[in-house]
């Protein structure tokens, strides 16, 4: 799985102190989202459960847990790895699918409409460039061997 684990090397050091969940804004509102539990499941190898569940899509990536983890575990990066695994097994959230199509079409997360271009011109801002093949070229390069 290689680079998908960027930042996740210390995962096994987690001693379940729960500080990540204690400080998690999302958990406060939606108790079903528990970062410490995700780490535990990941450590136990329960990948299927994680990838098929909704939990990994609920993280705001606010980095509070990563910042305060006493074991220096990059929890947010691990969440990203899990999402990438889900994406690769075609389990991406609808939001991500929408983002993906925008990115691959225009190279931008928020494509500019005709109106947007006009507004910018009126405000005296420089025109925006779009590159429809850039993202797929980058993905191809990332996948290519070597």
């Amino acid at each position: 799985m290689g680079h998908e684990f960027i930042g996740g090397e210390k995962l096994k050091c987690c001693y379940q102190c729960g500080k990540c969940t204690s400080g998690c804004e999302v958990n406060r509102i939606d108790p079903s989202f528990q970062p410490h539990r995700l780490l535990h499941l990941f450590g136990m190898g329960a990948l299927d459960e994680l990838i098929n569940g909704d939990a990994i899509w609920k993280c705001t990536t606010c980095f509070t847990c990563s910042e305060r983890c006493p074991q220096g575990i990059a929890v947010t990066d691990i969440l990203w790895s899990l999402r990438a695994m889900a994406y690769k097994s075609c389990r991406a959230s609808e939001l991500l699918s929408a983002q993906k199509s925008a990115l691959f079409k225009t190279g931008r997360l928020y494509p500019a409409t005709v109106l947007d271009h006009k507004k910018r011109e009126k405000a005296g801002l420089p025109p925006l460039s779009e590159d429809s093949s850039l993202i797929s070229r980058i993905f191809d390069a990332a996948k290519a061997d070597g």
Binding site: E25, F63, Y110, S129
Partner: protein, 288 residues
């Protein structure tokens, strides 16, 4: 004259014209030249959820492009800056850098040689331009105003990517920046809370509640406006303000400004040069 590459990202030039306009004019007024690089692409943030390596490659591409021009990067979106800065730290690893450079070569792009710095515009003003110098430029201090600052998660986090320039649990640099414009800032316990925009599509209730809580905290404390430093946060608090209020059974009327608009006003720039007409909740700093 100080010269920097302006990294706009995806959201700012489309969703946050007032930010872009005010930032450009503040920079101009302070004698900072911002150069546009049309080749800049998305920072890679959304791609992290698809392929971490491709995301790193996108970030490295942007870094390498600025480096080729010999320009350091100033950005407006905290998310973009955080992603680029984190990539910079990751690419300190020689093996990873070699691998990334190989791919950049494949794409016909310049190599990344670790010779570029990445800073948010606010951090730049605080750290490089300097608060003392800024204070001397302030012509119309906003003494009667009281702002609630929202930093945004990626402004100072992950702290190692941002050279720990501000305390990740209790940041202060934006407060100081706004204070140097003469205004007061509010201390409130929810200061560090996330805007929730990134999960609006996957956990809408949580997202709305997060936004509403902060809007409420600042409304109660009598903030004249909320000040933000990131287009995404602004969407969460400004564009979604009525929606968040309705969902939670509250009514909000809290103007949301970019810090560049506030600084610009204090510098004496005109409202039209700071994109005030784009504010959804009307606000006129000089009228108060």
């Amino acid at each position: 004259m100080m010269k920097y590459a302006l990294y706009l990202g995806c959201a700012t030039p489309v969703k946050a014209l007032k930010y872009e306009i005010s930032a450009r004019n503040v920079a101009k007024r302070l004698g900072i030249e911002l150069v546009d690089l049309p080749e800049f692409s998305c920072c890679g943030f959304p791609v992290k959820s698809m392929d971490l390596f491709a995301a790193l490659l996108m970030a490295a591409r942007n870094l390498a492009l600025a480096e080729e021009r010999g320009l350091n990067i100033i950005g407006l979106c905290t998310g973009c800056i955080s992603v680029l800065a984190e990539a910079k730290v990751q690419l300190e690893d020689e093996k990873l850098r070699d691998r990334v450079n190989e791919k950049l070569k494949m794409l016909g792009l310049p190599q990344y040689r670790q010779g570029v710095s990445v800073k948010h515009f606010a951090r730049f003003l605080h750290e490089d331009y300097g608060l003392d110098v800024l204070r001397r430029e302030i012509g119309a201090p906003l003494e009667s105003l009281k702002f609630g600052i929202h930093y945004g998660c990626h402004y100072a986090k992950p702290s190692h990517a941002h050279d720990c320039f501000d305390d990740p649990s209790n940041p202060a640099s934006l407060d100081q920046l706004i204070q140097s414009a003469g205004a007061k800032t509010i201390e409130y316990p929810e200061k560090n809370q996330c805007c929730g925009l990134t999960i609006r599509g996957t956990a809408e209730n949580v997202s709305m509640k997060l936004a509403a809580e902060k809007l409420e905290a600042l409304s109660i404390r009598g903030a004249d406006a909320m000040v933000v430093a990131c287009p995404s946060c602004c969407i969460a608090y400004e564009n979604n303000q009525q929606l968040a209020g309705r969902k939670m059974g509250k009514e909000f009327n809290l103007p949301v400004l970019y810090f560049t608009q506030v600084i610009g006003s204090a510098l004496g720039l005109k409202e039209e040069d700071l994109g005030f007409e784009f504010n959804r909740i009307e606000f006129h700093p000089t009228a108060r």
